[in-house]
């Protein structure tokens, strides 16, 4: 083997630029920011989000900018088509449909959001516990979930609403009684996958307690599917309320949700199409946007999809 001699001239001093090749110049991008960037590039999903924001804003300012209130009857001016006075026309009691549509939108959105919130809280806590602890705890909770899940929920929801008299609170409560289960299962599945990963082991090795690991490490990493599920819970709750309205168990008059408005209009929609078209359009657009936004969100939050 030939002996290699190192000579000083073989070593040159690095220039300033050359020194920094190891440092990361680009600003570091957190997973969330990355997701946001990807979401922003998804034009359809962004359009969905923007429309949702507009719908939400309209549900607040709509009733304010209208010259009419939602409950004053004008029996002489009933079932009028859209006009300058009544932008969306009037209903069967001569009430202004513009005001009612946006008020109904607000109520429908509230039902959806509250139901999603209830699902989120219950689902994440219980699903987290099931997934993290596994074993006996998981088995018992899972059994309870299974029992609840196998209950025909609409029957129970209807029973509950009949017992407690229909109101927004009752409807949300009834919807969440079985609604949280699928959320819990999704969280459980995620956590089960994640908990065997190295960083969790590392955290355990460092002595972090269960609550910390769960909420600091596991749940944030499972947030993608959770958020996606939420964006789908909102529309399904809005739908469920519409379904209940069809059965006469929706929110109480004089308040109206989009569902109760559609149900009111459905018996004569061939005669007075605007009475159905406006609330139906708003509910469908809302659904549509929640869904495409949810899809976009899922694409954005799932790094596996990154090309």
């Amino acid at each position: 083997m030939e002996d290699k001699q190192l000579t000083p001239d073989q070593f040159a001093k690095l220039s300033k630029d050359e020194k920094q090749t190891d440092t990361i110049v680009r600003e570091s991008i957190s997973a969330w920011k990355d997701a946001w960037l990807r979401l922003r590039s998804n034009k359809i999903a962004m359009a969905g989000l923007i429309i949702l924001v507009i719908v939400a804003i309209m549900s607040i300012i709509g009733p304010i900018i209208s010259a009419h209130d939602f409950q004053t009857n004008h029996l002489k001016e009933k079932n009028l088509g859209p006009s300058v006075t009544y932008w969306f026309g009037t209903d069967d009691l001569g009430r202004d449909l513009f005001t009612r549509t946006w008020m109904g939108t607000g109520i429908s959105l509230q039902v959806g959001l509250y139901a999603a919130l209830a699902d989120l809280v219950l689902g994440v806590i219980i699903g987290g516990i099931m997934g993290y602890f596994g074993g006996r705890v998981d088995e018992i909770l899972n059994r309870i979930c299974e029992i609840l899940y196998s209950i025909p929920n609409m029957l129970i929801i209807i029973l509950l609403i009949v017992i407690m008299e229909p109101s927004m609170f009752t409807i949300v409560l009834a919807l969440s009684i079985t609604g949280w289960i699928s959320m819990a299962w999704i969280v459980r599945g995620q956590i089960m996958q994640l908990k065997n990963q190295e960083y969790v082991m590392a955290a355990q090795a460092l002595g972090a307690n269960a609550v910390r690991i769960l909420f600091r490490h596991l749940i944030p990493n499972a947030m993608g599917p959770i958020i996606v599920t939420l964006t789908l819970t909102v529309p399904s709750a809005i739908f469920a309320e519409a379904f209940l309205s069809f059965l006469g168990l929706g929110v109480q008059s004089p308040a109206a949700s989009l569902g109760t408005m559609i149900n009111d209009a459905i018996k004569a929609w061939t005669l007075y199409p605007w009475r159905m078209i406006f609330p139906a359009a708003v509910i469908s657009i809302t659904m549509l946007c929640f869904n495409i936004f949810g899809d976009g969100l899922r694409d954005a939050l799932d790094p596996k999809m990154k090309k």
Binding site: S150, I151, L155, F243, G259, D302, K307
Partner: protein, 310 residues
């Protein structure tokens, strides 16, 4: 497998017991009873009727009596429809619901899978967007609205189909369509996203780089994996279709079981409420059970974890 099945079976019995008990007490909390009328029934007659159906007994006794009858497979007599047993009501009406339900499930699966695959294979092309828009529209319209519009257009306006009833084979078209919108759309989206995920997975890339042709990859690898989430959706889909049938049966005047769903509660027909709840519970549980089994069949990995987790 046998052990798994028997274990599942036992847990189903437990679920049914809890379900029966919960419904029993919930139902008794609701104000009113089966023998309340706008033209008030004389007190004496009410007492007789109560005695006839054992409603004069203390609640715990009624409950035990009910459970005892249930063990003997006796769901009791309807308190509203004279001399009709709950078993008979369910049997006679379920046949209609079953038919439209099964057609709806088949249609949803077929349309959903096909649309989803088309979308995934044409990812980010116009065909993808088109299918997705169709699919999303499906989940954007309340089913009672869809049913009404179908009925008006195909039945009243074009007169292609009967507006209601279930007398001819063609009468199935509208109720089945109305029931399938939502699940089909859901399946399409589900299939699309899992297909995309699978298609970008390493093993597909490997298969491709090995030079396997597209069809083999699609069928043997991609489709099989993409179908998994759809299988898990069978349970919720069944629930969805059952719920949807309430509306669809009302709008299309079908004497199915969904018609009784709300009616039984409104009438305080206690025995029918109990019978329906249990029946629906059994169907949902059976659907979930089948899902589990099917999942095990499609995905061999599952069996291992199932053995441990239950």
């Amino acid at each position: 497998m046998l052990k798994y099945v028997s274990k599942k079976f036992l847990s189903m019995i437990a679920s049914l017991f809890v379900l029966a008990s919960a419904t029993f007490f919930l139902m008794k909390i609701i104000p009113g009873d089966p023998f309340i009328r706008e033209k008030a029934i004389p007190e004496k007659i009410r007492e007789h009727l109560f005695a006839m159906y054992g409603l004069d007994q203390p609640l715990w006794k009624q409950y035990l009596m009910y459970l005892n009858n249930l063990l003997h497979g006796d769901l009791g007599m309807s308190m509203k429809q004279q001399y009709m047993s709950v078993t008979r009501i369910i049997k006679e009406s379920f046949i209609y619901s079953l038919q439209i339900g099964i057609f709806a499930i088949i249609l949803s699966l077929a349309v959903g899978l096909i649309l989803g695959i088309i979308a995934a294979l044409n990812h980010r092309k116009w065909l993808d967007s088109a299918t997705i828009i169709i699919a999303v529209l499906g989940v954007s319209i309340p089913n009672f609205l869809a049913a009404s519009i179908l009925q008006y257009v195909l039945g009243s306006k074009l007169r292609l189909l009967d507006v209601s009833g279930l007398n001819d084979p063609t009468d199935f078209i509208m109720p089945v369509l109305a029931l399938s919108f939502l699940p089909a759309a859901f399946i399409a989206r589900l299939t699309r996203s899992t297909m995309l995920e699978v298609l970008s997975a390493d093993y597909i890339k490997t298969a491709r780089s090995k030079g396997l042709n597209g069809r083999v990859i699609l069928v043997r690898h991609a489709l099989r994996n993409a179908i998994l989430p759809v299988v898990t959706y069978i349970g919720p889909m069944t629930a969805n279709i059952i719920t949807g049938s309430v509306v669809v049966e009302q709008i299309f005047g079908i004497g199915g079981i969904g018609k009784y769903f709300v009616q039984s509660i409104t009438n305080r027909d206690y025995t029918l409420i109990m019978g329906l709840t249990l029946f629906y519970g059994i169907i949902l549980m059976a659907a979930r059970f089948l899902t589990d089994v099917a999942y095990g069949l499609v995905d061999p990995r599952i069996k291992l974890t199932k053995g441990k987790g239950g």
